[in-house]
């Protein structure tokens, strides 16, 4: 079996990539999903038009390290906090929630305050996201 089978630290990083809200633009999310896969991560892709409730349930069942939310519809201020609240309500506050899409600076500040760990706007290189996750996930796993 795999050599790293015994240590949670060396199991692949698991990331749920979800698109809450009603816009169907998931190209950015798919590009990120592929980049994370190519970096050796396991990406659970849930598709478009997900409700906050569905995202929380999928994150729970898949036991992910990270929930990545993407929204281009401007609904991030209502939907992202709902995901954060749902995760905390289910005892999943340890999961890292990151966001991508078009998010104005003033909203980004509020979302960070609400518990979004990082926001990657348009033009962010996938390398930046990969490096951030490789740094952050082991730290969070060690804290559990």
């Amino acid at each position: 079996m795999t050599t790293d089978a015994d240590s949670p630290d060396s199991t692949p990083i698991r990331v749920l990539v979800a698109k809450p809200g009603l816009d169907g633009h998931d190209r950015g999310a798919k590009v990120v999903a592929r980049a994370l896969r190519d970096a050796g991560m396991e990406v659970i892709y849930t598709g478009i038009r997900q409700t906050a409730e569905m995202i929380v349930e999928a994150a729970l069942q898949e036991d992910v390290d990270v929930v990545g939310l993407s929204s281009l519809s401007g609904a991030h201020m209502t939907l992202f906090p709902r995901v954060l609240e749902g995760l905390r309500a289910r005892g999943l506050g340890h999961m890292i929630v990151i966001a991508g899409g078009i998010i104005p600076a003033e909203d980004a500040e509020a979302l960070r305050a609400a518990g979004i760990a990082a926001i990657f706007g348009p033009g962010t290189s996938t390398e930046t996201i990969v490096a951030w996750l490789r740094d952050e996930v082991p730290r969070r796993r060690a804290e559990r």
Binding site: T3, D4, S7, P12, A33, R34, R37, G40, V43, L92
Partner: protein, 315 residues
């Protein structure tokens, strides 16, 4: 965590699946093993694009409608280059609002030979112990490891799309033998009649059947609008009833086949790890045999004998 699994607490089930994936034969597996044996384990396999995930989604709906709970293990290959994976089965399976009676877990093979099947056995053990009435293992039927997973199941459904043409012939290699039920999916598309006829012809040719007393039915389905899904559920149930008929010898035979396959895989994996030091430095004795082979001082059969003889004597 064990109590949580037995009480079907979904967070506990999720954590147990992660733990058992890391160690499919450890203390957790031992504790849960005693509580299993109730679920009907249904394998669903077929070529990429056959519509497996959509069909599983439709099956979930039908089973839930009949009051049965369902656990699903959706297995996809890891990238051989990066070890990563995109697991996209939830896109089709997880369409509605969350339902207490359904649990879906995506799993990647993490690149280990035989490891996928072992991890899948472990995951099935968790979902079985959690008390899901039906446990589905969905895999891409493209290679040997997937056929191995099919023998995890009591009932294996092979999903075939129309228009495979002579591809149906190619299915013969391995995957036809493991089919208990064929789902001819996308049966509204051209070529469905021909594909059904080809499968039936092959079955009539006396193709090697796993169970001579069971003729695998060919059920036509259109997963996207639910056509034939009731018939497919009935065929899967009929197969379970067949296994349990009489004194239940068929069911016991499947249970024994599953147990044997899992034991064999685990012993092979551990033996290989012990002999070849997989994951760490290769043992000096193995390196010496490799050198002797390259120098043509020994042949491969003799080298294998040296390894096995040494193991047999020295433990």
């Amino acid at each position: 965590m064990i109590d949580g699994v037995l009480a079907r607490d979904r967070a506990a089930v999720a954590r147990a699946l992660s733990a058992i994936e890391r160690d499919p034969a450890g203390p957790l597996a031992a504790a849960l093993h005693r509580h299993g044996g109730r679920a009907h384990i249904v394998g669903v396999t077929g070529v990429p694009g056959a519509g497996k995930s959509t069909l599983v989604a439709a099956l979930i709906g039908a089973w839930r409608g009949a009051g049965r709970t369902v656990g699903v293990l959706a297995v996809d290959p890891s990238s051989p280059l990066s070890g990563g994976a995109i697991l996209g089965d939830r896109v089709r399976m997880d369409a509605g609002p969350p339902d207490d009676g359904v649990f879906i877990r995506s799993m990647a093979n993490r690149g280990a030979a035989g490891g996928l099947a072992l991890a899948a056995s472990g995951a099935v053990r968790v979902l079985d112990a959690a008390g899901y009435d039906v446990v589905v293992v969905e895999t891409v039927g493209a290679g040997q490891s997937e056929v191995e997973i099919a023998d995890e199941a009591h009932t294996t459904v092979v999903v075939v799309p129309p228009g495979l043409g002579d591809g149906v012939q190619a299915l013969k290699a391995g995957i036809l033998e493991v089919a208990d039920v064929f789902a001819l999916n996308k049966a509204d598309l051209p070529g469905a009649d021909r594909a059904a006829a080809q499968i039936e012809a092959m079955l009539k040719l006396g193709h090697t059947l796993r169970d001579p007393a069971w003729q695998p039915p060919v059920v036509r389905t259109v997963a996207t609008d639910g056509d034939g899904v009731g018939d497919l559920v009935a065929a899967i149930d009929a197969h379970a009833a067949h296994l349990r008929s009489g004194d239940g010898a068929g069911w016991r035979a499947r249970e024994r086949a599953r147990a044997y396959a899992e034991l064999r895989r685990l012993v092979i994996a551990r033996f290989a790890a012990a002999v070849f030091g997989e994951g760490g430095a290769r043992p000096a004795a193995i390196e010496a045999l490799v050198d002797a082979l390259v120098a043509r001082e020994i042949d491969v059969g003799g080298a294998a004998e040296a390894v096995l003889g040494g193991r047999a004597r020295g433990g």
